[in-house]
């Protein structure tokens, strides 16, 4: 087992750990901190892959990840929490233990899906791909089990981290794709920010239950 693989693997594992911990947290502050840790790990992973694959593109990816995801977005999220004076504890749809078991199941699904479909790929990238897919699925799960809009945004961002992790692990992913994904996330974040602002103006809360009641009444 080469060092290059071990280190990349360890960083993937760290990201998976962050994504898993994201699922278990009830407080917005710790969710944001975990997301930031995940983005830092992704930066390190991209740097290491850039060094290992000798591709300068990945250094640019790392820089973008660092500036946008590890710095700008967490600061923006913290600012949002302060500005909107949100209730810091997030309501969950189901008990945390149940959602963690679901998360474990999703990791199993990711492993079972990736391993048979990538039989021809080099064996070392397969496990990394399984980890990346797990991070993506866990991000979706976070979006599903949280009622608070900011927590759902964090889940979405975590999903995107998983995508970039998969992209950095594969040699030959064009840089333009990564750049556009990063910019898309930034744009998406801005749109969501405006959306949250409007949501709060109308309902005085960021809990999506408000929207659900309107839906039920059929306006």
């Amino acid at each position: 087992m080469s060092l290059s693989f071990s280190l990349a693997h360890m960083m993937g594992g760290l990201m998976l750990l962050c994504a898993f911990a994201l699922l278990s947290q009830r407080r917005l502050a710790s969710m944001i901190a975990l997301y930031q840790a995940e983005a830092f790990t992704l930066t390190a992973a991209a740097l290491w892959q850039g060094y290992a694959q000798h591709s300068p593109d990945l250094y640019a990816t790392a820089l973008i990840t660092f500036v946008i995801k590890a710095m700008a977005l967490p600061i923006g999220l913290r600012h949002m929490v302060l500005r909107f004076n949100l209730i810091r504890a997030v309501e969950t749809v189901m008990p945390v233990g149940l959602s963690m078991i679901l998360g474990l199941g999703l990791i199993g699904v990711a492993v079972l899906v990736v391993l048979p479909t990538t039989l021809n790929a080099a064996s070392l990238t397969r496990e990394d791909l399984a980890i990346a897919l797990s991070v993506v699925l866990l991000g979706f799960l976070v979006m599903a089990v949280r009622r608070n809009a900011v927590a759902q945004v964090i889940g979405f961002l975590s999903t995107e981290n998983g995508l970039v992790l998969a992209a950095t692990g594969m040699p030959g992913m064009p840089f333009v794709a990564e750049l556009s994904v990063a910019l898309l996330v930034l744009l998406g974040f801005l749109v969501v920010g405006v959306f949250l602002f409007r949501l709060r103006e109308h309902f005085d809360t960021l809990d999506l239950a408000g929207i659900e009641t309107i839906e039920r009444r059929g306006r």
Partner: protein, 320 residues
Amino acid sequence: MLLLLARLLATLLHLVLVFALAPLLVGVVARLRARLLGRRGPPVTQPYRLLLRLLNKTALVPETSTELYQIWPFAALSAMAGAAMLVPSFSTGMLTAPLADFITLIGLLSLTRAATLLGGLETGFGFGGAGAARELLFSLFAEAALLVVLASFVLIAHAFNINGIATVFASGHVGISVSLGFALVAMLAVALTETGRIPIDNPAGHLEVAMVHEALLLEYSGRYLALFEYAAMLRLMVWMNIIATVFFPFFMARAGEPLTWPVGLGLWGAKLAVMGVVLPVFEVSMAKMRVFRVPEFLGVAILLGVLAGVFLFVAERIGA
């Protein structure tokens, strides 16, 4: 013959160091924690003074207790002392190595806990019962997590013995694996629970409704309390040794080769020092959890242990 003598000497040195330094470790952690909180803190020798003071005091036996009241402290300390003898500190291959089965170790730790619990229940006093209920609730989850983590160790190292696991991990064939990272996090959560450190239990707390370990010992005094306190100090040492041996076994001395001892001893001291600094820093940066959150915290540890196992099977199947 010479080899046996060297191993015997290493074992004796291990015993002397572990038993003598356990109170010092607790003292250092308490002192650092106080400094981090902006207080001066007790001197690092305070635990030794505590033990001495307790030994010189009269031991009172409550009227409502049975004859077994005096036995529990001895049972708790002897089981913990057995565990302290088995877990390697600075070198592998000590005379106790063949006995250091992980399952035995878990059994000895549970035995200590059982004796402490029964001691707490002995007087039929309310806080003791409450503390016992909590301790049992925690230990149920902690032991489950420990067994799950152990399963992945066995899968990696093909050994049940803590000495054997350390030897395999030290050889470097294992590499940095995701599974081991998950196992480490799970193990740390279990260690925090078992040693009663801050997110679970406050070692400095004296508020009856919030405490777990202290509540069990409320009715004990004098030399009996000293035995329980010493067992608790040994427990911190044992857990730090377990983590150091399993996860950082690199360059540990070999008991048969005395020339490797100084390096092993130095590294052991360094490992304890690092953990002795990290623990109080972690403690002051965390808040104590509500009692009913603890099973959730340990549930995460169990799931991480399962995850470690899942990734081991993945690695096995793809032959990485």
